[in-house]
Symmetry: C2
Subunit: 417 residues, 2 copies
């Protein structure tokens, strides 16, 4: 058995409150998944990650990047050491992407054929080849609870013809991904012994999970089709025919206007089966994740809260009227360092570098109860940032992730009403 | 009242087990003080620092650097915000150095006169002047429990004449430091309200401390005299005449052979009053801090455990016979990155970068119960280091500090027998 998805409540707008039961635990959805690219949520110790959610809880699920882990330390190393959960000492659910997006965005000298993608490592220039089969092999070795089919990400903007051709390749690769997964899905690297030799598993701050024997990973397909509603429709229908465990919507939030992102999501969601999880990849700003969750998106991930944190950009709840007095955020892309402070209904984005915070004794967000806001002042956080102290990115990341997880907690409560 | 020093037990070798009662709490000595240069122990969140000592305890005392905090964020900012404890949200004892060592080692274009030192900031080249009076003013504004007199650190090697002249300057500055301190020691920045506005002080993981009303900081003098026993003697006698709250031995572990360091410490200790704390600044390797503690040194500090950690150098207990089969560490200076793995009776120094650790499932030290060794494998720590993930320095620093604090805990238990 792979996953079980139980919808507990649905709203007229399409939003749903559900439980996603995976081999390493249950994920309460809608969920925002923190990104742990190289088997660590950048700058955040596990011990603090485990307490940054609402009521001192851990995130239900993290995302890790297949491309990065394939290059370093290598998927065979991780397989030999019992899989990613064991390797990184994170016993809760994990999801890996297919590596496709990173091959297209990070790697050098790519050559795409129907067979797969030749590329050179961004680390050392070494030559590599990823096919759908190879991506699945790597992801099975990593052993996350959820795998993603290997897809092509089309550049933006792209013509209808170019987008259609790319989508056709993605569909062919999705079929091959699924065939390979079905043939090998019992080859999980999981050990029933969660503790490493010499490590006391009782220190893992998690209840004993269900037995892993007989459990398998799950595979999600990825809907593509660029910014063309007809292609998105065709892609969704084609993927649903292939019968994946869940469906992602890829290729969005790559520079297009937010209205287009929303429209593509809405048109696609209505074509996906209600009984399976729906995942929008790589979004977004606080108000976006809230909006998409209310539309019926069950899962989202984004580097934005942690990457922004490392740039000194912190999210907090707007005070009364504040969202009207500040400029609105304009784009779903990563914020440049010089971007002004902005506000939406969901969040104000603060730039902790500003001199005005140098002697500000308030926490980042007086309404936030995260471990950073309970203890540290804006003045101290600004000092850490200006002094380039590693504690700055750590505390900033913890707060931003807590802010994101709190949004989803609030939305889940609303959806369950 | 400033400090109270209660010796509970003394050994024939001169070692002593004592309690050092300070305004912000009691320090069990002998103690190793982690260095928090810029109001943060580099890369270690407070929440983990509070649990890295034996039995999940916090370090009794941290050291912060006056030079760094004077330049950034500025001592007046920290005074206005209630002092360093409040500013950095660390309610336990703190010690600040005088800034002298950093002025002589980090700052540029120094000009030394009997009045003080002109220098340029290593951050932005701006011009500054430190005198004994200014150092004390800055340290009172920072508000640590213990301050250090402003001293000159002579270069190494230095002639007898040059060392004697430098020592004379240090003595003159010590007198001026003490006069300034005595005149201003009631000007502490401490507030009785440890919680910042909007911050819940109950989240500070510490028992309520004694009332601060009427308490003052304490001032230590610094014995100099380079590598000359006659000058060390003269300096110790002169400093004791001046009647400080405690005495430091400075200017050691600056490249001299370890036997010379030990000899200078031994010759000086016998001249210092038994009823006051004795502090050797800037040492050392694990076997050094153990040895000096058993000789009667009550306090030590060093960046070595945290700096080595950031270079991937980890300390662990030697296994039986291992200290004989590996080269001995040779110097008390900071380890270069390429230094081989070494062993002494007290510690093996591992280089986590080595390929041999890539699939090593053991914790750093199977005999260590720190939070890193309870959870993470050498394989994962090597991966974090190779991938330059910020979690690597964090976990490495936590383990090395835990290793140092465990040594001192063991020595304290032995001294109390």
């Amino acid at each position: 058995m792979s996953l079980r998805f139980e919808v507990a409540a649905t709203t007229p707008e399409g939003g749903r409150r559900a439980g996603l039961h995976l081999p390493h635990g249950t994920v309460q959805t809608p969920v925002f998944m923190p990104v742990g690219t190289a088997a660590t949520v950048k700058a955040v110790p596990h011990e603090m990650l485990e307490h940054l959610g609402p009521n001192n809880t851990a995130p239900d699920i993290l995302l890790a990047n297949t491309y990065h882990l394939y290059l370093r330390p290598g998927h065979q190393t991780i397989r030999r050491l019992g899989g990613l959960h064991h390797y990184m000492s994170w016993p809760r659910p994990l999801l890996t992407d297919s590596g496709g997006f990173q091959v297209f965005s990070l790697a050098k000298l790519r050559k795409i054929t129907p067979e797969g993608v030749e590329f050179r490592s961004h680390l050392d220039g070494s030559a590599h080849f990823f096919s759908p089969e190879h991506s699945i092999e790597v992801q099975i070795a990593l052993g996350a609870d959820i795998l993603m089919a290997f897809d092509e990400c089309v550049e933006t903007p792209a013509t209808h013809e170019r987008t259609r051709d790319s989508m056709a390749l993605t569909h062919a690769w999705a079929l091959r991904s699924k065939a390979c997964f079905d043939a090998h899905k019992h080859e999980v690297p999981w050990t029933t012994d969660l503790g490493a030799p010499g490590l006391a598993s009782e220190t893992w701050d998690v209840a004993p999970h269900q037995p892993l024997a007989g459990r398998t990973q799950s595979l999600f397909g990825i809907v593509q089709g660029g910014m063309y509603a007809d292609l998105r429709r065709e892609s969704a229908l084609r993927l649903v025919e292939m019968d994946f465990d869940g469906y992602a919507i890829g290729g969005l939030a790559v520079g297009e206007p937010r209205e287009v992102t929303r429209e593509m999501i809405a048109r696609t969601l209505e074509l996906l089966p209600a009984g399976k999880p729906r995942y929008v990849m790589g979004v977004g700003y606080p108000d976006e994740i809230e909006e998409y969750a209310r539309m019926g998106v069950d899962m989202m991930d984004c580097v934005l809260p942690t990457r922004a944190a490392r740039h000194g950009l912190l999210f907090r709840a707007p005070q009364s009227g504040e969202e009207l007095s500040m400029p609105r955020p304009v784009s779903s892309e990563d914020p440049p360092e010089t971007e002004p402070e902005t506000a939406s209904r969901t969040a104000v984005r603060m730039n902790i570098k500003r001199l005005e915070y140098a002697e500000d004794q308030r926490p980042i967000d007086p309404t936030c109860s995260c471990l950073v806001c309970r203890r540290y002042t804006r003045a101290y956080l600004r000092h850490l940032f200006m002094a380039k102290e590693p504690l700055g990115p750590t505390l900033n990341s913890i707060h931003n992730l807590a802010f994101y997880l709190n949004i989803m907690s609030r939305v889940r409560a609303d959806l369950a009403k």
